[in-house]
């Protein structure tokens, strides 16, 4: 039998990423630049919500968007056309999430001179993005009504890393058995500090609540 020597490593594969993410956050703080990481399942309304939010905030803040997609640039084009702000596409090369290194590369390719807020639309997925800290100041996620109110029970990690849970598509509430109070309770079980904001991105209802939360966050970050 071939003899082998054992070299002990004992290291979490998330460790490097966690360090890079902390470094990135430190750098963002010193530049006064706020980064929000927005996550959700595919199609729950990230791009629609961003367009509404940006249109409410673009007179008050200088905003840019990074759209992460496995391989397309439709969202980046959509944002640019609907809001006029700077928006770029990051291709993840088949990866199901963004990590801190990819996020940094994205930021480096943006013109961030004078920018107050960068929003990252992460890959549509409730599992992997939650495991990789991007270096963002805060994490937000969107849960849409058709997905069901039990998602915080099924995807605990995602809900425990998010500071804000936006409940979108409230206009279709009559057609689904989504219970908003139950949903709030489930979110609280995972993360007592998370803020739950119901919105309808289609009509814009409730988006102002999220926009004020964000504006306040960005102003505090700069102090």
């Amino acid at each position: 039998m071939e003899k082998v020597k054992i070299v002990e490593i004992k290291k979490s594969i998330f460790e490097n990423n966690d360090k890079q993410a902390d470094n990135l956050r430190g750098e963002l703080k010193s530049r006064g630049l706020y980064l929000l990481n927005l996550m959700s399942s595919p199609g729950s309304g990230k791009t629609t919500t961003l367009i509404q939010t940006i249109n409410l905030l673009k007179d008050k803040l200088r905003i840019a968007v990074m759209e992460a997609d496995i391989d397309s640039d439709v969202d980046a084009v959509k944002i640019k056309e609907a809001t006029g702000i700077q928006s770029i596409q990051l291709h993840t090369g088949g990866m199901c999430h963004l990590d801190a290194e990819m996020t940094r590369q994205g930021l480096d390719s943006l013109d961030t001179d004078g920018t107050d807020l960068v929003i990252l639309e992460n890959v549509g997925n409730l599992v992997c993005p939650a495991e990789f800290d991007t270096g963002a100041v805060r994490n937000a996620m969107i849960l849409s009504v058709p997905e069901g109110d039990d998602k915080p029970l099924k995807y605990p990690l995602m809900f425990s890393v998010c500071d804000v849970v936006i409940v979108n598509k409230t206009d279709v509430m009559p057609y689904f058995d989504f219970d908003l109070e139950k949903c709030r309770e489930y979110v609280r079980m995972r993360n007592p500090k998370a803020v739950v904001i119901p919105i309808c991105a289609r009509t814009g209802e409730g988006v102002d609540v999220f926009a004020s939360w964000l504006l306040n966050e960005v102003r505090n970050w700069k102090q």
């Binding site: 082998v4 020597k5 054992i6 070299v7 002990e8 490593i9 004992k10 088949g94 992997c128």
Partner: protein
């Protein structure tokens, strides 16, 4: 797809460890994977075979997986119980006020290097 991403991180960390230890070839990598880490061991080893053989350092290198049991703690009665069998609900007192103690690990335990 998730597993392939994880494999790229393992490869990056193994390469770094090999360089630090002046190792020219790695014949085995031993992982500690928690039961509730969301990683499917079979997918991980499939992705590993495909990706590792593309690296000179890791040609033919075997990925071995140690599964670590998941254990939860009940805040109500202070007891520990196996998470996979009972989930969020404490089997001793029925409380929902429980949290995961361990079982989330995705770590490289050690690498094996041919000894000559």
């Amino acid at each position: 797809m998730h597993e392939l991403g994880i494999v790229f991180y393992i490869i990056r960390d193994v390469k770094e460890a090999a360089a630090n230890n002046h190792v020219g070839h790695v014949s085995g990598v031993v992982m500690n994977i928690g039961e509730v880490s969301t990683i499917v061991p079979e997918y991980l080893t499939d992705c590993w075979r495909w990706a590792a053989d593309k690296e000179e350092l890791l040609k033919g290198c075997e990925l071995k997986i140690n599964t670590l049991p998941a254990v939860s703690y009940c805040e109500e009665c202070g007891q520990e119980y196996p998470t996979v069998a009972h989930g969020k609900i404490c089997p001793f007192c029925g409380s929902e006020h429980t949290y995961l103690l361990r079982g989330n690990e995705v770590e490289i335990k050690e690498i094996e290097v041919p000894d000559d």
